[in-house]
């Protein structure tokens, strides 16, 4: 699951891209909400994630244009000679209409129902500096798009491409404002189907679900640059793939999502869907991936997530949780999750917090690993 926050920005392009500076403090029109994109709008003609499917690769790495929303989501923690960094690169696809328009020879090549958006961010943990940028384009004329063979998803000159024929080794290329990424990601573990064999139910209503798989452990090698420097980096990344036509029930307002990579080669994915007026949806849950790739599905009552700290961004006046205590059934430690730096808010059309975190043992205090957390629906 995760990250259905941002596709709604497609509709916000009028406001959200108005400043070339990625961290502009422009506020989005109040009329937009997660519901407008991920809720149960008129979905006639769209395919639905209403039953289990047989995943087929590499085809499923490519786009599913019959579904309304889709994303390729990569986050990771890397180390360099100048300290640790967190990074994010996400491509979103959103269909504005169900069926692709039938094209005839005279039709414009610009005609499309597919819109792409990309977000890239870099957290310089040592300098406490957060860089973020976004791109938006129609999925036409080759300006943006996705394909399965060879795997590629791109928007302008930002891309994720396949680096090798036999494994799902991928190359990330981003030249954003004030920073750049050029990273090679190699899976060290098998692909994990989330939810029930890849069907991840989010709302009560049937069909309010997504198809969801992840690479929870990928080795990262490459370089990053802030302004004009060039730093070799190494580390770990996580990739999520998800597509759906609607996920949220009408009473759900946002979610907190955790991608945790422990040093003992265990990975934990957790999410909790927050309800209007407080409370957690019973559809919340997660997965534990064991070092031997065995997966264990977690239900809402298998986890307890307690917020220990809050942080208010002085620029946006939005308050986010900024520390958690997490108990997971069957896990030896109680986890203490702490942001590696406070300000990792992406202040685009619909702001969200997506940041690198440290994982500590609540009882012994020792560091257990790193991860990424996404917090949506907090911005007023």
């Amino acid at each position: 699951m995760k990250k259905f926050a941002t596709p709604c920005l497609f509709i916000l392009f009028f406001g959200c891209q108005s400043s070339p500076a990625p961290q502009s403090d422009k506020t989005a029109p109040a009329s937009f909400s997660l519901q407008s994109v991920l809720g149960n709008a008129d979905l006639t003609g769209f395919a639905r994630a209403d039953k289990p499917r047989t995943f087929a690769f590499p085809q499923d790495h490519g786009p599913h244009p019959d579904f309304r929303s889709e994303w390729w989501y990569i986050t990771g923690n890397v180390d360099s000679s100048e300290g640790p960094f967190g990074f994010e690169l996400t491509f979103f696809r959103q269909a504005t209409a169900p069926t692709p328009t039938d094209k005839d020879a005279n039709d414009s090549a610009w005609q499309t129902n597919q819109i792409y958006m990309a977000h890239a961010a870099l957290s310089d943990i040592t300098q406490k500096q957060f860089y973020a940028d976004e791109r938006l384009s129609r999925g036409a004329l080759g300006l943006a798009g996705a394909q399965a063979e060879p795997f590629k998803v791109w928007l302008d000159d930002w891309s994720i491409t396949q680096g090798s024929d036999d494994t799902f080794q991928i190359i990330l290329k981003v030249k954003a404002k004030n920073f750049a990424l050029e990273l090679q990601l190699t899976p060290t573990k098998e692909l994990v189907l989330q939810g029930d064999a890849g069907l991840s139910q989010k709302g009560q209503e049937p069909g309010n679900a997504s198809y969801y798989y992840s690479f929870t452990n990928m080795q990262v090698e490459g370089k990053i640059s802030r302004r004009n420097d060039n730093l070799p980096v190494r580390g770990k990344a996580w990739m999520d793939r998800e597509w759906s036509s609607s996920v949220l029930d009408s009473n759900q307002v946002g979610w907190d999502w955790f991608a945790l990579q422990l040093n003992d080669e265990q990975e934990i994915m957790l999410y909790q869907l927050r309800k209007k007026g407080g409370g957690i949806s019973s559809q919340s849950g997660g997965t534990i991936v064991a070092p031997n790739n065995q997966t264990q599905k977690l239900n809402a009552d298998d986890t307890t997530i307690t917020v220990t700290h809050w942080w208010t961004n002085p620029k946006s006046q939005t308050t986010y949780p900024a520390g958690w205590q997490i108990k997971v059934k069957g896990l030896e430690h109680t986890l203490h999750i702490k942001p590696r730096m406070a300000d990792q808010e992406l202040r685009f059309g619909l702001p969200y917090w997506e940041g690198a975190v440290d994982i500590f043992s609540q009882t012994h205090g020792q560091k257990l690993g790193h991860g990424y957390v996404e917090l949506t629906g907090y911005a007023k």
Partner: protein, 846 residues
């Protein structure tokens, strides 16, 4: 004391003051009106520019009318150039709404955010734009404009593009943050690029790529290094300037007209001032005896002129604002016909235009008053009463004036000959020639009175002789009055000659060039823009099959990029027979033909030759996607179709280098004995249904072309009327002053026993004589002015040589006007004469 006396004097002569004010006012009003019109248009143009281009630093264009959209993808995806946005645009007419012209622009909203975020914030409902990408022919338009046309969201706006009609759907309304941006939005129809590209039938093509590299100079550098072949990066400010220069010639011509108006006004002021001085000779003489210095008199006379200039100019500014509102429609019509779409519905009262008018009016009054003021200082206590001294002096000066006039004219000629291009030398020539002509006036008056003496003597006997003599003896007044009068009439003649000659040239040229029987074209929204749309070869074939058609002529007009800038090129499948109808300036038609038909030569129209400094033997290098194509110039031909000029090449030459099978217009040549109307019906039946092709006989095309010509010169017509009005006022004021001044003379005659009817006859004889003299004088002056307007100003600004045609009409018209005005001018003095006793007249002047 002096000022009180002057004011009293002015109060005693309210008519004189009024005429003077009207004279200054009319002159100033023309300047102010044209300046206001120009300022309003420039402002509207700037707003339009700014709306689209305020954040644009560069424009990337292809070498033809369009560029391939694949280059855009290359720039964004392969080169990583981000601050760019694609654009397709064209002009369309809303045929059900009085043929209002709109600029329809297709944009990619995703890309716009990096270039023109403000554009996307004009719409209150951003979601609508996305939805619009799915609706058919959806556009956004200004809320106010929509309301004015009775449209709302969901309404249909029928438009014509090329020969096709479309129903656009109003998907959303745009609201500008300020009245200026509202005005700029008024001409705009904004849509998604995919929709507009399909509608404009330009699949795969863009009009331009706009860029904002202000914050990303490295992107520009990168693009410059890696620019795909066949593309060009243009500096946006330069581009805007180029569009603006389109109308520059037109504006300059208007300026010339307003200058003329002011010049004529200058003479009126001069005339009034000198009259005031003359009237006050007694008063001034008295002052001198009271010890008031010459300097004081000089200063006060100038001060008075300044005051008159001030109030006259105020009046003129008022007139000017009214006039500007009348003229604005005519001017915008011309601009919309020929240059670009602009909607200016109201005149904005620009303070600088008013100040300019005030300044010019006062300056003109001041400079016109210098000579009279100087003359006022010459008044000696002793000689003040005797005007003979002045007149004796004037008779001698006549030759000096003429000589100075000759020298001035010569200087004007020398200036224009030394600087054969640019408009300023032509303006200098006009000014010097007018001044020179005016200085010649007294000599001409003297000469003409000698010539007319026997004639008047024969016709009116004693009274006739008296009338002529009195003019001769009051040369210092009558000379100037007739000069002002003659000049005003000459202005009318000159402008009429220019326009009528031009029209005749165009009409002859049309007859000469339009030799096919039927013309098939697409409605062109704006003449300086490329004709939109394509006529396919299939249509040509279907016409060929129509019985009665002997041959189908084809025309492909495209704007092509050359090393000398964008040039409109016409490709024609001409036969030698038809080619022979061209008139060449610098070569024999046979020679031009062999180069044209066999050696890929282009022939160039005269305006192009003048504008781009090209002539036979030169070459033109066209920039093409595949590289450069250099073609020789085979000759320069006379052409009045475009002031920007054309190159013309044979259809085979065009086909050889450009892969473009379509056509812009067709011509049908009929077999002998075929009915044109019948064939027109057949052609209409053969053309695609529901189209807006214009199928016209040669005659109706000629008429339509001349109608556009007339519309273009409508503003000149208005200005000519104004010149006539100034002339009319001028004549009346000059003559009336003169006659009022003669009161004493008449008083003596009355005392000597002349009957009132005899005196009225004498008076009217005098004024009509001056009318006649002015009328005669205006003939050479008018011809000279006509020459300057036609062969200097027009040639320099538009590049057209125009053969002058002289018809009787403008002269007769001008003469009649002069006579009428002079008779009217006699009425008030005559009435004055009858009502007042001779003694009062005598007393007043002693």
């Amino acid at each position: 004391m002096l000022s009180r006396a002057f004011i009293r004097h002015l109060r005693a002569h309210p008519w004189l003051v009024l005429l003077c004010l009207v004279g200054i006012g009319t002159g100033v009003s023309v300047v102010v009106a044209l300046d206001l019109v120009n300022a309003s248009i420039t402002k509207a143009f700037d707003y339009n520019q700014r709306l689209f281009d305020q954040t644009m630093t560069h424009k990337i264009v292809g070498h033809g009318n369009t560029l391939n959209e694949k280059h855009y993808k290359t720039m964004r995806v392969d080169l990583g150039v981000r601050n760019i946005a694609p654009l397709v645009e064209a002009y369309v007419s809303a045929y059900k709404h009085d043929e209002i012209k709109f600029k329809i622009v297709g944009i990619d909203p995703f890309a716009e955010s990096a270039i023109r975020p403000h554009l996307l914030q004009l719409n209150a409902n951003p979601q609508a734009f996305i939805e619009a990408t799915e609706a058919s022919h959806a556009i956004f338009m200004a809320k106010k404009r929509a309301a004015a046309l009775g449209l709302k969201v969901g309404s249909t706006l029928p438009i014509r593009y090329g020969f096709k009609r479309f129903d656009l759907k109003v998907a959303g309304l745009l609201e500008g943050p300020s009245p200026e941006s509202e005005a700029a939005l008024a001409d705009l129809l904004l849509g998604d690029i995919a929709e507009i590209q399909t509608l404009l039938e330009m699949p795969g093509q863009l009009t331009a790529i706009h860029a904002n590299f202000e914050t990303a100079p490295e992107q520009l550098k990168h693009l410059q290094n890696k620019l795909p072949k066949g593309l060009k990066i243009i500096d946006a400010t330069q581009d805007a300037r180029q569009v603006k220069t389109l109308t520059e010639n037109f504006n300059m011509n208007l300026d010339a007209m307003s200058l003329l108006g002011l010049l004529v006004g200058l003479f009126l002021i001069y005339n009034t001032m000198i009259f005031l001085v003359t009237q006050r000779r007694t008063l001034l003489g008295l002052f001198r005896t009271h010890g008031i210095s010459r300097q004081q008199i000089f200063h006060y006379t100038l001060l008075e002129a300044l005051a008159l200039g001030f109030f006259g100019s105020l009046l003129g500014i008022g007139f000017g604002i009214v006039l500007a509102n009348l003229l604005i429609d005519l001017v915008t019509q011309t601009i919309n016909d020929h240059y670009f779409v602009i909607a200016v519905r109201t005149i904005e009262i620009a303070p600088q235009s008013c100040l300019k008018g005030l300044g010019l009016g006062m300056l003109a009054s001041l400079s016109a008053a210098i000579v009279p003021a100087w003359e006022a200082t010459k008044v000696q206590a002793r000689t003040a009463i005797s005007r003979m001294s002045l007149e004796t002096h004037a008779a001698k000066l006549v030759w000096v004036f003429a000589a100075v006039g000759g020298v001035l004219t010569l200087i004007g000629v020398l200036i224009s000959k030394s600087f054969p291009s640019g408009l300023l030398p032509a303006y200098a020539l006009m000014t010097f020639a007018i001044l020179g002509g005016a200085l010649f006036a007294p000599l001409l008056t003297l000469g003409l009175t000698h010539l007319l003496y026997p004639l008047f003597s024969l016709a009116f006997g004693h009274l006739g002789r008296l009338a002529v003599r009195s003019i001769q003896t009051s040369l210092s007044r009558s000379g100037i009055a007739t000069a002002a009068l003659g000049l005003a009439i000459a202005t009318m003649i000159g402008v009429t000659l220019m326009v009528s000659s031009f029209r005749l040239n165009v009409s002859n040229w049309l007859k000469q060039t339009l030799i096919a029987d039927i013309y098939i074209s697409m409605p062109n929204v704006i003449s300086s823009q490329a004709t939109p749309g394509n006529i396919s070869p299939a249509i040509v074939e279907s016409l060929k099959a129509i019985p009665g058609i002997k041959k189908v002529g084809t025309n492909r007009t495209m704007h092509l990029q050359t090393t000398k800038g964008e040039i409109s090129n016409i490709a024609l499948n001409l036969s030698q027979e038809h080619f022979k109808r061209y008139r060449f300036k610098d070569t024999r038609v046979e020679e031009a033909w062999s180069k044209f038909a066999q050696h890929n030569a282009v022939i160039i129209s005269e305006p192009l030759a003048n504008k781009k400094d090209l002539s036979i033997g030169d070459t033109i290098t066209f920039q093409h996607e595949d590289g450069e194509i250099t073609l020789p110039v085979g000759g320069t031909y006379y052409d009045y179709s475009s002031e920007r000029g054309h190159t013309t090449m044979h259809a085979t030459t065009y086909a050889k280098y450009w892969r473009d099978p379509n056509f812009t217009a067709l011509a049908a040549y009929l077999k002998d004995g075929t009915s044109t109307q019948e064939v027109i019906k057949h052609i209409q039946a053969a053309l695609p249904a529901n189209n807006d092709f214009m199928v016209r006989s040669t005659k109706s095309l000629q008429e339509a072309s001349l109608a556009v010509f007339d519309r273009t010169f409508a503003i000149t017509g208005v200005l000519r009327l104004l010149a006539a009005f100034i002339a009319f006022i001028g004549i009346i004021s000059a003559l009336m002053c003169l006659q009022l001044e003669r009161e004493r003379e008449f008083a003596i005659l009355k005392a000597q026993g002349f009957t009132p009817s005899q005196l009225v006859k004498l008076l009217l004889g005098q004024t009509s004589l001056m009318g006649i003299i002015a009328g005669i004088m205006s003939i050479p002056l008018g011809i000279g002015l006509g020459y300057i307007l036609t062969d200097e100003i027009n040639l320099r600004s538009f590049g057209w040589s125009i053969e002058s045609y002289y018809t009787l009409a403008p002269f007769a018209e001008a003469f009649a006007l002069a006579m009428l005005a002079s008779l009217i001018a006699g009425i008030y003095p005559a009435w004055h004469l009858i009502r007042h006793s001779p003694l009062s007249g005598l007393r007043e002047n002693t």
